[in-house]
């Protein structure tokens, strides 16, 4: 990202952000609520139109065109899940949009986040933690080259947090570039290779 600025209703939420997230590494971004972390991820994902600057993902400018970055999985905002479907059926429906993910990959993603693909319970009976796991499964099921996660350990218990760290490290070994946003510095320190801090829409590298 180079000189990325985004204003919403006159308020600057991203203020000339220039940052590079290294390929194949885990980058952590921390900051307090309202510091612009989520907006940063939305800009990387191509979900918002920026006012100034340039966002390049895998060499392609995603800020200008209509196309979203290829091979990208994200958990940025609450997924609109269908309560009457099982977790597997929810993921299958999303996957059916593009037809890029098969049944085996969906089942594998569910197992990796600790959910049972055979579970016949509907999503409406899921706990918050199970919801979160399902959303993470959605982000990784395509085995994307880029994974963007906003507060991925929210609602997860200690076991869930631990397995999430393992999952992120597995994805990194596979070659994925991962950007995690969290207000929890300790959580980032456990997995991140690089850490950035956001404040008032600006970003700086910590280490």
């Amino acid at each position: 990202m180079r000189g990325v600025t985004k204003r919403i209703h006159g308020k600057t939420v991203l203020d000339g952000v220039t940052v590079e997230f290294p390929r194949g590494e885990i980058s952590g971004v921390r900051g307090h609520n309202g510091s612009g972390k989520t907006m940063l991820l939305r800009a990387v994902a191509g979900l918002i139109r920026i006012d100034e600057g340039e966002v390049r993902v895998l060499g392609r400018d995603v800020a200008r065109g209509d196309t979203f970055p290829e091979s990208m999985g994200f958990l940025i905002e609450p997924m609109k899940l269908w309560d009457d479907l099982t977790g597997f059926q929810n993921l299958r429906m999303l996957a059916s949009i593009r037809g890029a993910v098969g049944q085996d990959e969906i089942e594998n993603a569910l197992r990796r986040v600790g959910l049972d693909p055979e579970d016949k319970r509907r999503v409406k009976s899921y706990s918050l933690g199970m919801h979160q796991r399902l959303c993470i499964a959605q982000a990784i099921m395509e085995r994307p080259a880029i994974i963007l996660l906003d507060e991925p350990t929210n609602a997860l218990d200690d076991v869930g947090r631990c397995s999430m760290r393992g999952l992120l490290l597995e994805e990194k070994r596979r070659g994925a570039t991962i950007v995690i946003v969290s207000h929890d510095a300790a959580e980032l320190d456990a997995v991140a290779d690089y850490r950035f801090e956001m404040s008032e829409g600006a970003i700086r590298k910590e280490w």
Binding site: A45, L47, I76, K80, D84, L94, S96, I97, R98, Q138
Partner: protein
């Protein structure tokens, strides 16, 4: 197409509830027609207008249609749908496809159920031309209702307001016909049924009206997805 059908109808419980309610309404209408409730029920056109007139469209069908589209529309206005579609244009075209498929299915259900209800209740000769025209025009009205809901949901984010917007669209023709000194043109259900049997030219005119409304709504959704 498979995806659109999957998103629209697979385990869409509100759609099933809407369908059951539609059948219940048709049953009541058939019972009323059979008991001579319709004073002017001499022709197929009169009976059809009794079953699918602007008043029924305003107060019964439009709310039922919206109930059926609430869940797929919620999904289509989410960022995951757009991202999984690959690009913004693709997402808006999928939305357009969904609205047309929904219009076709809803119109087929509305027309067939009306035809069956009339056939069971009164012995009048079906007017195939009225049925076909109404089917085609109702495809447009149902698709427009879908697009109105999606656009409002996208713009405002509140299902309640989007629902009310569609209900107002449904009510428009009822108001146009019934409010004293209204004088506003019909843009919805009022155009779908013709008591005397519509002339071909008239149908073309109505189609062009619906076509313009649909194109405008699609453009709004297209530019919404662009943002």
């Amino acid at each position: 197409m498979k995806t659109v059908l999957y998103v629209l109808f697979y385990r869409n419980r509100p759609a099933v509830i809407a369908l059951v309610l539609l059948l219940a309404v048709r049953f009541v209408q058939a019972a009323a027609l059979a008991r001579g409730a319709l004073v002017i029920g001499e022709t197929f056109g009169d009976a059809y207008a009794f079953c699918s007139g602007a008043n029924m469209g305003a107060f019964v069908f439009t709310p039922l249609l919206v109930v059926a589209v609430m869940r797929p529309a919620a999904m289509m206005t989410g960022s995951h749908f757009a991202a999984w579609s690959g690009d913004r244009r693709c997402a808006s075209l999928r939305c357009l496809g969904a609205s047309l498929v929904f219009g076709l299915v809803a119109s087929a259900l509305l027309n067939h159920s009306a035809g069956v209800a009339i056939a069971l209740a009164v012995s009048v000769q079906p007017d195939v031309f009225t049925l076909r025209c109404s089917f085609a025009l109702q495809v447009a009205v149902c698709s427009i209702t879908f697009m109105v809901y999606v656009n409002l949901l996208y713009a405002i984010g509140s299902p309640a307001i989007a629902f009310m917007g569609c209900v107002l669209y449904g009510l428009w023709d009822f108001m146009a016909q019934n409010v004293v000194g209204g004088g506003v043109p019909s843009v919805g259900w009022g155009l779908t049924v013709d008591f005397g049997g519509p002339a071909f030219k008239d149908v073309i005119f109505r189609f062009s009206l619906f076509g313009m409304a649909f194109v405008v709504l699609f453009l709004i959704s297209f530019f919404s997805f662009q943002q």
